[in-house]
């Protein structure tokens, strides 16, 4: 290893609270990165990984400050650097590729002037060479028709194109170190694969070092050699990729890896109980941060903070780093018993076509067909069965879900509930029984629970609407339901804003369940959640299915989740069904080439 490119020593970032005490958001970060090395920083939301990434550029968002520690780049102390020197460094020798390129590009400036700006600041090229160099850069990131792209504004590009422009801009200063903040999170899986390929190429070709932040360990292992795991603002484990994935030493790493659903094994992932501590609520300076959630905690974990224990090929912040290695295999998920379908068909969809545009009179006279968002859809769900509906954005999977829910009018075709109710009306015109028997759970519980209502009000409403009953009866039912979704009864007086993401999603599921439905429609209900929470929601869903013989239509873009959860699967592309069947059959021997490419994109 050559002399280090970037070193941090006990770097801590945080804020000073009302009592004038320092509160660390990230603490005691020790990192060393050599030239050309690639490091992946993995952690769940709120662990401070983005804060750390910005801190590596000696930048803190408003309200945060450096509480202590050193930061060196190429042997120079970045903390002591003048603003002018920092400006030269940022975007020059070290460049950031942002999470959401669509918002990180200035909307009022052409791509051209934004790249020129980077060249003017960070290269010695004369003005005359800017254009040709820009085209070169855009070609480098494999953007088609670079000359034309330069003239465009950010909003005129697709998400993948915007991300490529952001990468090109970062390359303008020929950096020694690239910092990436979840650059593929907003992209479709197939686009993600292309962007990751590109990044790998760039690293291989230019010997640029890279620090890649992501919540997705799959993405990280596709591009990085080393992996660091972050939890509650601390680096808890650090190691070579293979070693860390195969032999995680920290209990948190083990839990994290166990909670990731995998495509090649159809077992249910194991979730982690508890919740990541928030900065400022408790002082962990003389305790292990993972104490509350650790299954192997001993008295010593409460009395002293573990140091970084060096093992061959990895380092771990745990008192029992060596022992836990041996405990690894204890936690394995239960194999899901996939029931054979029950005889009763809950939902039968046939020849369904949906269109968003209302055909104008002129077009109807001309005999033009409307633009169909989804067409010729046919499938059925039986009692106690989970049907996974997979596809990328724009595949029409959400439209299909809305149509079943009655929020979107179908153009033609039929939907039948319980073999007798016609569902081809908008929800308001359906029989009350239909309204009650189909319930919907949304992707983002922040948006699907009314922030001005208490949990009690949220859960009482469907009961009052469909069944009525006395206040005390409703109240008792709410208590039972909260217990069923593993939430304390005391939560009934809280507001959604006082709950964590996973808890909110449990409430959303509970709201669907109090209506005693036959069919629950789930719209990406786990994708806004962290993996460990996702695993516990999946477990809950399966238990509820078994208890109440629910039929579930589960829409997701995540094949691994569908693999672990669903019995049947329907693959959707551009509004058409490409393939369908039992999950095991479809995923183990996909016939349609689109299914194959989707499966190949799973990391």
């Amino acid at each position: 290893m050559s002399s280090p490119l970037l070193t941090t020593e006990d770097l801590s970032i945080g804020y000073v609270n009302d009592q004038a005490e320092p509160v660390a958001v990230i603490s005691s970060i020790n990192l060393t990165l050599g030239r050309g090395e690639t490091l992946g920083l993995v952690g769940e939301s709120g662990c401070g990984k983005s804060t750390l990434l910005l801190a590596l550029m000696a930048y803190q968002k408003a309200g945060l400050q450096r509480l202590g520690g050193r930061l060196e780049f190429l042997g120079e102390d970045m903390v002591a650097m003048s603003a002018r020197d920092l400006q030269k460094l940022r975007g020059g020798q070290m460049a950031l590729i942002p999470q959401n390129a669509g918002q990180a590009l200035t909307p009022t400036m052409r791509i051209e002037s934004q790249i020129f700006e980077a060249l003017r600041l960070h290269s010695n090229l004369g003005m005359a060479a800017w254009r040709s160099r820009s085209i070169e850069l855009l070609e480098r990131v494999q953007l088609a028709r670079p000359g034309e792209m330069l003239k465009r504004y950010p909003h005129e590009l697709s998400g993948g194109q915007q991300q490529r422009v952001a990468i090109a801009m970062a390359l303008a200063g020929e950096p020694d170190l690239l910092l990436l903040d979840e650059p593929t999170t907003g992209l479709d899986v197939t686009t993600q694969v292309h962007v990751l390929d590109l990044l790998r190429d760039i690293v291989a070709e230019t010997q640029t070092a890279m620090i890649y932040v992501s919540h997705d360990i799959g993405v990280i292992s596709a591009v990085c050699e080393k992996i660091a795991i972050m939890y509650a603002g601390e680096l808890v484990e650090l190691g070579e990729k293979q070693q860390l994935i195969n032999q995680p030493a920290h209990p948190y790493t083990q839990g994290l890896l166990d909670s990731i659903p995998k495509l090649h094994q159809s077992r249910l992932p194991v979730g982690m109980e508890g919740r990541q501590p928030q900065p400022g609520l408790r002082d962990f300076s003389s305790q292990c941060v993972f104490l509350d959630r650790c299954g192997h905690a001993q008295p010593i974990c409460e009395q002293s903070k573990p140091g970084l224990l060096k093992l061959p090929g990895q380092a771990v912040k745990c008192h029992f780093g060596e022992q836990t290695l041996a405990l690894k295999d204890l936690a394995t998920g239960s194999q899901v018993a996939k029931p054979e379908g029950f005889s009763k068909v809950v939902l039968q969809v046939s020849d369904l076509c949906v269109s968003y545009d209302r055909p104008s009179l002129k077009r109807r006279i001309m005999g033009d067909k409307a633009d169909l968002t989804v067409q010729d859809i046919a499938f059925e769900i039986r009692q106690g069965e989970i049907l996974g509906l997979v596809g990328e954005s724009g595949s029409g999977k959400s439209t299909l879900l809305k149509t079943v829910a009655g929020l979107q009018q179908p153009l033609s075709g039929s939907m039948v509930l319980n073999e007798k109710f016609d569902l081809s009306y908008a929800v308001g015109k359906r029989a009350p029984e239909c309204q009650q028997r189909i319930q919907l759970v949304f992707q983002n519980p922040d948006a699907s629970l009314n922030p001005s209502h208490t949990i009690e009000e949220i859960l009482a409403r469907p009961i009052a609407l469909y069944f009525g009953g006395s206040e005390s009866a409703i109240s008792e039912e709410i208590d039972q339901m909260l217990e069923r979704v593993n939430l304390p009864v005391a939560y009934r007086h809280r507001y959604p804003g006082q709950l964590s993401g996973g808890e909110k999603q449990r409430i959303a599921i509970a709201r669907a369940l109090v209506a005693k439905p036959d069919l629950i429609l789930c719209d990406e209900i786990t994708s806004a959640l962290d993996v460990s929470v996702q695993a516990s929601i999946m477990k809950l869903l399966l238990r509820l299915r078994d208890e109440s013989q629910l039929a579930i239509l589960f829409v997701s873009h995540d094949l691994a989740v569908v693999n672990a959860l669903a019995d049947q699967v329907v693959v959707l592309q551009q509004g058409r069904i490409r393939e369908s069947g039992r999950v095991y059959d479809v995923f183990s021997s996909p016939e349609h080439e689109y299914t194959q490419s989707l499966l190949a994109s799973v990391l």
Partner: protein
């Protein structure tokens, strides 16, 4: 693009027409008519009928509206019965004076407001911001007639630097107007700057928190370049329409300012016209002010279209 501009134009014209109907109807609905007002409450019989037929007030409302509208299209505002003069002659010079007053205040105020707003946002919650914002609240909330009164007693009476109230004919030459408007302009500008500055500040704070400004920082952009090239244009875009709305609304305040300073503009004229119940004059002024408002909005729309690439692509955004 051209189609969009054309749409806005047509839309503005339709609104103007609708406003003319509203103004006409509203005045029409009020009890009494111009002749009654002219001749007095007690007037009855032949004199009233004569007057009405002379000014064609005995015709049905829609006929009179059409005549009025036709006249407007030809540039004829009509005739004031009370003042016995064509309205054009009455309004013309006073309208010029008000435009001079408003324009000076806007030209002085808008750049100042943008500058102060940007500074306040950049130094948010620091001493500069607290001072600027505090003074702005003060200017915004103290009624114009109080500011005006205070300014007069300070500059005119105490220091004797400037004329306190304006004593000039409505059709005074431009130079004389300009020498008289310092205090009215300051009064108007204070309110205008306060309102616009607050909007620019809020907008700028939002933009400064955006990801592209963070990205600009991490791209190594010097601060002033980041502010001028990236932040400010994006902060001003959503503010343009609001600035126009505010200016138009503050023109309502012109009325008070003109009375305070005895300034011969259409604001004071309208107050007089209402006191005299000179309905034709009121109608004409109301329509004129409405067209200023619509015109300002149209200009703001066009500027936004020119500066905002997103809007340009949005076909038929209305």
């Amino acid at each position: 693009m051209l189609q969009l501009i054309a749409r806005r134009f047509v839309f503005a014209l339709v609104t103007l027409w609708a406003v003319s109907v509203v103004v006409f109807t509203a005045v029409e609905l009020l009890p009494g008519d111009a002749c009654q007002a002219f001749l007095g409450q007690m007037a009855q019989g032949q004199r009233l009928d004569n007057c009405r037929s002379r000014y064609q007030l005995d015709q049905p409302a829609q006929v009179r509206y059409l005549k009025w509208a036709k006249g407007l299209l030809a540039g004829d505002l009509g005739q004031s019965i009370k003042r016995d003069k064509p309205l054009k002659e009455i309004i013309g010079p006073r309208f010029r004076n008000t435009v001079i007053l408003g324009l000076s205040a806007a030209l002085l105020g808008i750049p100042m407001a943008i500058l102060l707003g940007a500074i306040a946002a950049l130094y948010r919650d620091q001493r500069v911001d607290i001072w600027i914002s505090g003074i702005a609240i003060f200017c915004m909330t103290v009624p114009e007639f109080i500011t005006g009164t205070l300014l007069i007693s300070f500059f005119a009476v105490w220091l004797g630097w400037l004329p306190g109230i304006v004593i000039m004919r409505a059709d005074a030459p431009l130079l004389e107007v300009l020498s008289n408007i310092v205090l009215p302009v300051i009064t108007l500008t204070l309110v205008m700057v306060a309102h616009i500055m607050r909007m620019v500040r809020t907008s700028m704070i939002n933009v400064l928190a955006s990801e592209f400004v963070l990205m600009g920082n991490l791209k190594g952009l010097p601060r002033w370049q980041l502010v001028l090239r990236h932040a400010l244009p994006n902060a001003l875009l959503p503010a343009i329409n609001l600035i126009a709305l505010n200016i138009a609304w503050l023109m309502g305040g012109v009325l008070v300012v003109e009375v305070v300073f005895n300034y011969p503009g259409i604001g004071r004229l309208s107050v007089n016209a209402i006191s005299d119940r000179d309905f034709a004059l009121v109608q004409a002024i109301a329509l004129l002010m409405a067209s200023i408002y619509i015109g300002l909005n149209l200009i703001a729309d066009l500027i936004s279209l020119l500066l905002n690439p997103r809007l340009r692509n949005q076909q038929g955004a209305g």
